[in-house]
Symmetry: C2
Subunit: 166 residues, 2 copies
């Protein structure tokens, strides 16, 4: 079924993830209402599926889940929802994984960095001003106008490191 099979954790060893989901959906709802964006049934469901955990999920994984739920869905269906959610700053695309993950600061259009565990598959979103400013400084020196950043660090998270006695 799922193309990525991970079990362990990372963003917070034992947090109540139901709160993450509820919070994300609630924020999305409020943000869309405020901005006149239409968080349709489909888009809401896709966002919910993405927030099922902190592991970036692929478009075709989502597609398969929608199909299993009985909804008629082809690739464009899911990609359009993903586009909407990205443009609305509700999710991020993890380029190095071709996968999508919920945004921790919805509606903010911020530059983010990701630390991605190659063991448990979870992604931690950072917003480190130091990294941002270092890039800005380089850009200034180059005379380069920054449009989009892709900052993704892959490795092993603390939790997985301590439990690598599989």
């Amino acid at each position: 079924m799922s193309r990525l099979k991970h079990t362990k954790q990372f963003p917070a060893a034992d947090h109540d993830h139901k709160t993450c989901i509820a919070h994300a959906l609630q924020e999305a709802e409020a943000y869309c209402k405020q901005r006149g964006l239409r968080l349709t049934e489909l888009r809401r469901r896709v966002l919910e599926l993405i927030w099922a955990n902190h592991q970036p999920v692929g478009a075709y994984d989502l597609l398969e889940q929608l199909t299993h739920e009985g909804r008629k869905a082809a690739p464009p269906t899911i990609y359009r929802s993903l586009d909407f959610l990205m443009q609305s700053d509700l999710i991020h695309r993890i380029t190095s994984l071709n996968a999508y993950v919920g945004c921790n600061h919805p509606g903010l259009n911020h530059a983010a960095q990701f630390f991605i565990c190659e063991d448990c598959g979870q992604a931690a979103e950072m917003d480190d001003a130091k990294i941002e400013s270092a890039i800005a400084k380089d850009a200034k020196r180059l005379g380069f106008t920054v449009e989009k950043r892709t900052i993704e660090v892959a490795g092993i998270c603390a939790h997985c490191k301590h439990h690598s006695n599989t």
Copy 2:
């Protein structure tokens, strides 16, 4: 023919690129000999094609060029060469473009950052210790063991900015 069509420049407004190519191939040759790696005719040619300019090039573009040169080539042919060149630290993969570019410090297995112009398509390789250390600091705080970095900044280079009167 080429899937990416760019004409302008970026890494150095008017440098002698023949020197870049010659230098890269010479370094690769020496490095492979020294390490007992086999820089075959195919691999050497692929490296040369990649170094044709400072614009990351896609696998299927390379494939097409090889085919036009009369060589029998299918996707695995080119991907195997790309794998060799990456493992040998002679080229980098630009994740956000699904494309490949020559490495400025061949054989070094270094962390690099890329500034990529969305206009001319050229990529500038940086090795900014500040960015590196900012990431290392975050990683340490997280207890995260870094394996691989993907740092790619897209935008408009100085040269293209000054000539945007197209």
